[in-house]
Symmetry: C3
Amino acid sequence: MTEQKTTNIILFSGDYDKAMAAYIIANGAAAYDHKVTIFHTFWGLNALRKDEPYNVKKGFLEKMFSKMMPRGADKMGLSKMNFAGMGPKMIKHVIKKHNAMTLPQLVEMAQEQEINLVACTMTMDLLGLQQGELLEDIEYAGVAAYLADAENGNVNLFI
Amino acid sequence: MTEQKTTNIILFSGDYDKAMAAYIIANGAAAYDHKVTIFHTFWGLNALRKDEPYNVKKGFLEKMFSKMMPRGADKMGLSKMNFAGMGPKMIKHVIKKHNAMTLPQLVEMAQEQEINLVACTMTMDLLGLQQGELLEDIEYAGVAAYLADAENGNVNLFI
Amino acid sequence: MTEQKTTNIILFSGDYDKAMAAYIIANGAAAYDHKVTIFHTFWGLNALRKDEPYNVKKGFLEKMFSKMMPRGADKMGLSKMNFAGMGPKMIKHVIKKHNAMTLPQLVEMAQEQEINLVACTMTMDLLGLQQGELLEDIEYAGVAAYLADAENGNVNLFI
């Protein structure tokens, strides 16, 4: 009997294209029967934000971060050639034209494939994000949980 | 008998300095008898572009991406301190002065060391890149091939 | 008897937030009894610079790099939302408010936990950095030393 392989991705980046890459690898690994976890930290948490505004009481700095950060996967910018938002529009056009999946569709597929989507509680705290602002069925954990998975992992990536 | 170690690098970035780091690690690993694969995806594909223009029929968006993206390893910018192209010039000066290898030389060395240079077909499609635009002796594959290598890999990196 | 697990992080990035992530993972892994190494290369070397100026003879290009690069962990910018330095100030405010650790404190903690902080000699040479400019108790090594650690590593990350 062979043990189930595992893929553990830290998604640090808040870029649309990098998050796409993370979710494509994750969905691929899940299709190959890996146990897959995406640990969202820092700007990567934006991929898990709901796209509607959510009414929560926040301090001033948290409010600023909250305003400045993109609300949800669909709003994120590109790591390269962002051109004031034109780049993501182009990429989305191209994705549509090739019948490829957009980032929100990739996130949805990940949830259907039971990929563990984890939000890093420490950076949520730092950036002033609250559980109600994030998608449903997310797990909340810290670096210790990540290490427990990754130390026996087959494919560990920081994106 | 020990099994051959393997190094699997995903080169996502289109930055000159990050691609240098990827190729230095890859060439080092090959020198230590690892089986090495560099899987080029998204902007990392630019490291594999031929430096002469290549006449292909493309749609409008693909043409725009194609124009805007650097043609080949030598044209890529830095991840930091790009200063409208001055940074890469400085780095290249410094590389020359220290008898270090430039990125195109590192790519050539990788081919001599029989490192598998793989182009991600899905992102080639998205960005409208065609096989004739890329270097010779490249392999073409998707995320499944990457995972098959990486799940038994020793050193897996996302750059 | 189980072998000691190892975590090997390449810190390539010179961003405050990415360096924080690297050092948080590293300190976490050390707390869980991993043998931990952070291999600082390219802009990641800035995390190891002393914050006072250091009088060394350098060539013109090396002097320019040296001037332009941040001197020490505390001076580094954010990967996102840098806003001419306002971003890091906000993050530092938020860190303080939540009693979290700043990057210089995380570096200090790493040294107390006997994490191997390695400076990549090849890129020090390229960027014109000298040993006297970096923190005490740093190791100096190249890609071969990194690979020797990483090929048997449990958690290998490129940040």
